[in-house]
Amino acid sequence: MTAAELRNVFYTYSKGTPFESAAVTDVSAVFESGMITGIIGHTGSGKSTVAQLINGLLPVSSGEVFVCGKNIWEDPKKMRQVRFTAGLVFQYPEYQLFDETVYKDISFGPKNMGLSEKEIDERVRDAARDVGLDDALLEKSPFELSGGQKRRAAIAGVLAMRPQVLILDEPAAGLDPRGRREVLGNITAYRNKTGAAIIMISHSMEDIAEYCDKIVVMSDSKVLLSGTPEEVFSHADELVKTGLTVPQVTKVLCGLKAMGYDVDTSAYTVDKAEKEILRLFGGEKKC
């Protein structure tokens, strides 16, 4: 089911000043429920702008944005409702923590939704569990937490609104490998539990390849490629030309192909690549 959609969306920053610049040009994309869609591209390719266009934080210059089947700009007064349905986690969300305790901070969103005390309590604890925060941490000040815990508390603040579309801008940026795995694992678990549509912005090809069901590649404010990881990574040449890269294992396979081996270069995870290489050279897995 389609959860969010962009149709021929344009967006220009600082219109009418010398600083005018097109951030998004004719972008169309479909994001489906129960799927993790990755948006990948260079710094300045427009991916963060897309995130803010989906939940109406930025007004489209032209084009249409649909969330759960409704054009969000049809009735701008209901925009708050759209933001509860399409939850957005900004880049480095830990810098937006503000309240005395983690519990209060996570409850900010649900409180704004006007829910009952009981419902809020349930949602806060639920969201904290979703991101793996101990109940004991809930009563602490958010500023006492470690970097990774802060990040997860901030993500919980958005999860507590139980959005049907969850947009995350670089959720794993700046975390150590273990923190990355945990946060991305939490996100996948939320998808499995709720069937929400997840939109994940990243510039790590490895993360995108491992966690996403679909990929949208952006370059110079346009959509360059979109489709399943197999489809996208089979265009390795095009990706490399725009300065992006493919996952390291795909690079190995491309290298093999360049050396004249008849290898399928669409494998993008270590597991798949391993199978492909074993198929090629024969033999069993040794360890």
Binding site: R80, Q96, F108
Partner: protein, 276 residues
């Protein structure tokens, strides 16, 4: 939203004002303000307006940008003008231009109002638009440091002042951007900054101010460490990367503004029509 505030922002360009030495520009701004307050006769005010518009055009800033910059201040100009119309106290025996109920409107009052409006407009165009739009903050503080450097003799920490000013100016856009980002993030969680009474709105800003303060302190710390790492130890013995020297167009501008002040003074004396 907040990013749309343009007054006080620097717009890169290639006009004569962009190329002028910032020290000269600062001094000329002072001269220009003096000229504005020297004007007395109607003809002098006409000259003021003419010169202000001329230098605004010479600065090469786009009209839409200028209008956007002065739009919020038009209100101030109008209010000042209106107050001046009514608060004018005429010399004994002046006939009012017209009167109704208890209110007398005098020609002098109308002229004062018009002159006041022209004055404020010229001030905004000259200092707000031409000076700040064509001078980068760094150049501006450099110029202030250089102009104030004689005060070092009486042990005033001129360099430190200018460094503080540079840093403050440098971080205004950063903080505006940060505020925008935090507001967006809280809006994404349903925060509402634009409805409700004054107290409710003030309270709604708390989720923005707390993270903003924390990040400002964090930035200050990081900046201090970064400066320390590059061996910054204050102004003593510090040299500049760019040495500014005066060039021909600096002198042309000086002559131009000199003629302007002289013109205002002479017009006051010899063409004293509609003097208030």
């Amino acid at each position: 939203m907040l990013k749309d505030v343009t007054l006080g922002q620097y717009f890169p360009g290639n006009s004569i004002f962009h190329k002028t030495d910032p020290r000269i520009k600062l001094l000329l701004t002072v001269a220009y303000i003096v000229a504005i307050f020297l004007a007395k006769s109607g003809a002098a005010y006409a000259l003021l307006l003419l010169v202000s518009i001329l230098i605004t055009i010479m600065s090469g800033i786009r009209l839409s940008v200028i209008l956007k910059g002065i739009k919020p201040l038009i209100f101030v100009v109008i209010i000042t003008a209106i107050i001046n119309v009514f608060w004018y106290s005429p010399p004994e025996g002046t006939e009012p231009l017209f009167s109704f109920w208890k209110i007398n409107i005098y020609l002098g009052g109308l002229l004062t109002a018009l002159y006041m409006a022209i004055r404020i407009l010229c001030l905004i165009l000259g200092t707000g638009v031409v000076l700040t739009y064509t001078t980068s903050p760094i150049a501006l503080t450099d110029a202030i440091e250089s102009l104030l450097s004689p005060l070092k003799l009486i042990k005033l920490p001129v360099h430190e002042f200018s460094m503080m000013m540079t840093i403050a100016l440098r971080f205004i856009p950063t903080l505006i951007e940060e505020t925008d980002k935090i507001m967006s993030a809280q809006k994404a969680r349903g925060a509402d900054f634009s409805s409700g009474g004054l107290i409710k709105r003030a309270k709604a800003l708390l989720p923005v101010l707390v993270p903003l303060f924390i990040s400002a302190f964090r930035r200050a710390d990081e900046l201090a460490v970064a400066m320390e790492c590059r061996c910054y130890r204050g102004g003593k013995g510090r040299t500049k990367m760019t040495r500014r020297t005066l060039r021909p167009y600096d002198f042309i501008l000086v002559i131009f503004f000199g003629a302007f002040i002289a013109g205002v003074v002479l017009i006051n004396k010899y063409i004293p029509f509609y003097t208030v």
